[in-house]
C-alpha cells in the first residue's frame, strides 16, 4: 500500500512537473546552441528581459518598503481602531482573488487615456498606461499581499514587549526598528522579497493588458513568450521560457533556504 502511494506521487510529479521542465529545456535546444543564442540575442528579447529586470527591481523595492510598513501598522499601530484594522486586514488579500487580467483592466479604466486622471497625466506629458509606470503599478497591485502576509504573523508572534522595553530604555521608533524589530523579522522579509521577485518576474495577465505588448517598447519576457507562441516561433519561446524557468528554480532554492532560516529564528 505504502509503495503504491509513493509511486503514484512520483508519477504525478514526473508527469506534471518534471517532464514539462525537461521539455522546455530540449525545446530550447531543438535547433542546437545557435538557435538558442539567436533567439536570445534578438533585439526584442534583450529589450524584453531588460524591461522585466526593471520591473522586478522597482516593484520589489517599493513593495518591500510599503509592505513592511503596512504590516507594522496593521499589527502595532494604536492610532488605528481595532475594527478598522480587521477591515483593512481583509482588504489586503483582495489582489489574490482578482484575476490578473482584471487587475490590469482596473488600471486601464482608472488611468487610461479616456479616464479623467489618465487625461490629466497625458496633458503633463506623463504616460501611464501602455508605458512602464502602468506596468509597474499593475505588478505592484498583484504582488501587494505577499510581503504584508509574510511579515504580519512574524510581528504578531514576537509580540511588542521587546519594543516596549527598548522605549523604556530611551530608544525612539527608528532606532528600535533597526536594532530590535528588524533582526527578528528579517528572514520573513527576505522570504517575502523572494516571493515578490518570483511573482513580478512571472506576472503576465495584468502586464499584458496594461502594456499593450508593444515590441521593443513595453514588451516583457513573459509577454514575449506569449507573442512567440502565437507566432509559432516555438524555439524562441522556449529559449526565453528557459531563462525565466532557470530564474524561477533559482528562486525556489532561495525560498527553501529562507524558509529554513525563518524557522530557526
Amino acid at each position: 500500500m505504502k509503495k503504491l502511494w509513493i509511486s503514484l506521487t512520483y508519477l504525478v510529479f514526473i508527469i506534471l512537473l518534471i517532464i514539462p521542465v525537461i521539455k522546455i529545456f530540449t525545446g530550447a535546444w531543438a535547433d542546437g546552441w545557435s538557435g538558442f543564442a539567436d533567439a536570445l540575442s534578438r533585439k526584442q528579447s534583450i529589450h524584453a528581459l531588460m524591461m522585466t529586470g526593471i520591473i522586478v527591481v522597482v516593484v520589489t523595492a517599493i513593495n518591500t518598503v510599503f509592505g513592511v510598513m503596512l504590516a507594522l501598522y496593521l499589527v502595532r499601530a494604536s492610532w488605528i481602531s481595532h475594527r478598522m484594522k480587521q477591515f483593512m486586514n481583509s482588504i489586503v488579500d483582495l489582489p489574490f482573488a482578482v484575476s490578473p487580467v482584471i487587475g490590469g483592466l482596473m488600471i486601464v479604466l482608472l488611468l487610461g487615456p479616456s479616464s479623467i486622471m489618465g487625461a490629466f497625466f497625458e496633458d503633463i506629458g506623463f504616460k501611464v498606461v501602455y508605458a512602464l509606470p502602468g506596468m509597474i503599478l499593475a505588478t505592484l497591485f498583484v504582488t501587494f499581499p505577499l510581503m504584508v502576509r509574510e511579515v504580519m504573523p512574524v510581528l504578531q508572534e514576537i509580540g511588542s514587549q521587546q519594543e516596549e522595553a527598548a522605549s523604556t530604555l530611551g530608544a525612539y521608533s527608528w532606532y528600535t526598528f533597526w536594532h530590535v524589530t528588524w533582526p527578528s523579522i528579517r528572514w520573513g522579509v527576505i522570504y517575502g522579497v523572494v516571493l515578490t521577485v518570483a511573482r513580478s518576474l512571472g506576472e503576465f495577465g495584468a502586464v499584458l493588458v496594461v502594456s499593450g505588448n508593444i515590441m521593443n517598447k513595453t514588451q516583457t519576457a513573459t509577454t514575449l513568450v506569449y507573442q512567440d507562441v502565437e507566432n509559432f516561433n516555438v524555439v524562441a519561446a522556449n529559449s526565453i521560457a528557459l531563462v525565466l524557468a532557470a530564474f524561477s528554480v533559482g528562486l525556489l532554492l532561495l525560498m527553501e533556504w529562507a524558509k529554513k532560516r525563518k524557522e530557526v529564528h
Binding site: K2, W5, I6, L8, T9, L16, L17, P20, V21, K23, I24, M69, Y73, A77, M88, S90, I91, V92, D93, F96, A97, V98, S99, P100, V101, I102, G103, L105, M106, I107, V108, L109, L110, G112, S114, F141, F144, Y172, S173, W174, A198, G202, F204, G205, L208, V209, A221, T222, T223, V225, Y226, V229, N238, A241, L244, S248, L251, L252, M255, E256
Partner: protein
C-alpha cells in the same frame, strides 16, 4: 551617533510620523481600494441596462459558466492529488522526499506563461501524451482537458501546503488510540485523520478554485480560445479590452470578482473558525 541623532530628531517630530502614516495609507487606498471601486462603477457607468446586456451576451455567460465548470473539475482533481501527496510527503520516508517537497512550490515560482508553454509542449500533437490520446480520438490541446490540466498545474501547491501542517500537528497517539480500539486502517483514516485535515482541504480547495477562476497566463496558451467552446472568462475579458469595450469587460469582471470575493470571505471564515478552536 551624530548623524543618527539628527535622523532620530527628525523622525521624532509629529510632522514626520504624520506624513509617514498618510503616505502608507494613501498607497494602500490608491493601489488596492480605488481600482476595485473603479471597476464596479465602470461596469454600471452606462446604467443598469448595458450591464445586463453585457452579462447576458451568450458568449459572456457561457465563458463564465465554462470557467466555473472547469475550475470545479480542476479543484476536485487537486483535492484528490493534493491529499495523497500531502499524506505521502508527511508520513512516508523515502529517497527523494525532500526534493519532491521543494518541487511542490515550482508552479508558484514559475511564470504562468512559462507554465502554459510547458503544458502545450507536454500535451501538444507532437508529444507522447498527445500522440497516444490522438490514437484514441481524444483531442487534448485547444480543448477542455488542456484547460483543466493548466488549471491543475498552477493551483497544484494549494491543497498540499494547506494540509501538510495539519498532518504534522496531528498527534500520532490519536491514531494509535483508534487502532487499540479495534478500528481498521481505512476506518481510522476516515474517522480520525480526515476530520482533522478537512479544514485544510477545504481552505486549500477554495484558494485553488479562486485561483483557477482567475487564471489567465497558463490557460490562454493552451485553450485555443474558441468563443463559446474553450473561451474562458479571463480570456473573454482580455478580448473585450482588446476590442475596446471596457464597459463589457468590466461587467464580466464584476461577475467574476464578486464570485472570487465570496470565496475569499469563505476561506477567511474557515480559517478564523479554526483559530477559534
Amino acid at each position: 551617533m551624530g548623524g543618527n541623532g539628527v535622523l532620530n530628531l527628525m523622525l521624532r517630530s509629529r510632522w514626520w510620523s504624520f506624513g509617514f502614516r498618510t503616505t502608507i495609507m494613501l498607497y494602500f487606498i490608491v493601489l488596492i481600494v480605488l481600482p476595485i471601486i473603479g471597476i464596479y462603477t465602470q461596469s454600471f457607468s452606462l446604467g443598469w441596462q448595458p450591464f445586463w446586456d453585457s452579462v447576458t451576451d451568450p458568449l459572456a455567460w457561457k465563458s463564465v459558466l465554462l470557467t466555473t465548470k472547469l475550475s470545479v473539475i480542476a479543484t476536485v482533481i487537486n483535492v484528490l492529488l493534493g491529499t495523497m501527496i500531502g499524506w505521502v510527503l508527511v508520513r512516508y520516508r523515502f529517497p527523494g522526499r525532500r526534493i519532491l517537497n521543494s518541487l511542490v512550490d515550482l508552479p508558484f515560482a514559475l511564470p504562468t506563461a512559462v507554465g502554459g508553454l510547458m503544458i502545450l509542449l507536454l500535451l501538444g500533437p507532437g508529444s507522447l501524451v498527445g500522440g497516444i490520446a490522438d490514437n484514441f480520438g481524444i483531442e487534448i490541446v485547444f480543448h477542455e482537458p488542456a484547460i483543466v490540466v493548466a488549471m491543475v498545474f498552477v493551483t497544484f501547491p494549494f491543497v498540499i501546503r494547506a494540509i501538510q501542517p495539519l498532518l504534522e500537528e496531528l498527534d500520532k497517539s490519536e491514531e494509535e488510540a483508534a487502532y487499540t480500539l479495534g478500528a481498521s486502517t481505512t476506518r481510522t483514516f476516515f474517522q480520525v485523520i480526515f476530520p482533522t485535515i478537512l479544514p485544510g482541504i477545504l481552505s486549500g480547495a477554495m484558494l485553488a478554485f479562486s485561483r483557477a477562476l482567475a487564471e489567465f497566463g497558463a490557460v490562454v496558451l493552451v485553450a485555443g480560445n474558441i468563443p463559446g467552446k474553450t473561451l474562458i472568462a479571463s480570456v473573454y475579458i482580455f478580448g473585450e479590452i482588446e476590442s475596446d469595450n471596457p464597459q463589457g469587460a468590466a461587467a464580466v469582471s464584476v461577475l467574476l470578482l464578486t464570485l472570487s470575493f465570496f470565496i475569499l470571505w469563505a476561506v477567511n471564515l474557515i480559517q478564523s473558525r479554526r483559530m477559534g478552536k
